[in-house]
Assembly symmetry: C2
Homo-oligomer: 189 residues x 2
């Protein structure tokens, strides 16, 4: 998606080699008109997949998932990263390793919100190693729901998660794939 790539080139900042900061428009401050166009693009890409639900993970995935869901007119479910006192009933749980924080954490989704006849579009802002995505896919499998597609705003291609998932057979569409980056110089695939 050319508009997203141009925005990354304009406002993205590379830190410590592997961190691409896009917090001025994507995941801390959010340019809603851009997110709405991102949502429309995901709808165009996955319009033939009979999507029944969008799944994402808190926190920054929620904005993009919502702005995508409004083009599909389907509900959004977001996986939670910590057990909440108000999350009762039966839960799907999957363990995710965070390289950013170097620790494992559980993600949870209430069982009542994913059904075996759901065709799920998983949406997230970033993909690097794909560990959070593995957890979301695992939850879909536990629910016997179909992963009909995966939509990512920015894939860090050099970290390999996206290519691994494509090899595993998932339909993964990333709107911008960063092949390499250093301060002041970002190269897209």
């Amino acid at each position: 998606m050319e508009k997203l790539k141009q925005r990354i080139l304009k406002d993205g900042q590379v830190r410590n080699g592997e961190v691409l900061k896009v917090d001025s428009f994507l995941n801390h401050q959010m340019d809603i008109d851009l997110l709405d166009e991102i949502g429309a693009e995901f709808q165009r890409l996955f319009q033939d997949e009979n999507i029944t639900k969008i799944l994402t993970i808190e926190a920054s995935g929620i904005a993009i998932a919502c702005m995508t869901a409004r083009h599909f007119h389907v509900p959004v479910v977001f996986a939670k990263k910590a057990k909440s006192l108000n999350l009762d009933g039966e839960l799907y749980t999957s363990k995710v390793h965070s390289f950013t924080y170097d620790r494992d954490y559980d993600i949870t989704v209430s069982k009542k919100f994913i059904q075996s006849d759901d065709r799920i579009l998983i949406i997230d802002d970033f993909m690097a190693n794909g560990k959070a995505m593995d957890g979301l896919i695992d939850i879909c499998h536990q629910a016997h729901a179909q992963v009909a597609g995966i939509g990512i705003c920015i894939e860090k291609g050099f970290q390999g998660g996206g290519d691994r998932l494509r090899k595993e057979g998932y339909r993964l569409e990333s709107l911008a794939i960063v092949e390499s980056m250093e301060p002041g110089h970002i190269v897209f695939r």
Copy 2:
């Protein structure tokens, strides 16, 4: 907002006296078409306030803030509940007490995303004691930005946070104010 109240009566569940679960449509699974109508209603209520930015707090506030911002065409900024390794630069920080978890936590916003000439609309899904809202207001004050309005989906009127903020002079609009509740019986103000 009659449609929201009807949905609360239909799908809301009262637990342990003080917990109103609306996780099937508002804050775990989200009915995006309803959220879009909620956003349009906030736009109608605050259209004369020259809103420049919407501020919310992760995680469940993000969905409603985004679906509101799309009607205003202004950016959303969400306060983070934990310090992130990727959140560098100068931060506004405020301490919030959570009654749900009985502990204090810090909320943070990058200083670069709130300016002294901003007119902020603060959006959240719930208001109970108003402690999280106090933190968001504190951050706006630190930035010398104007709190032009506060929009809440569900206010638990019997917990007093909303009335306290109204007395302090804030323009607070709640789409549904629960005056009392017990299992199977919810009364709106």
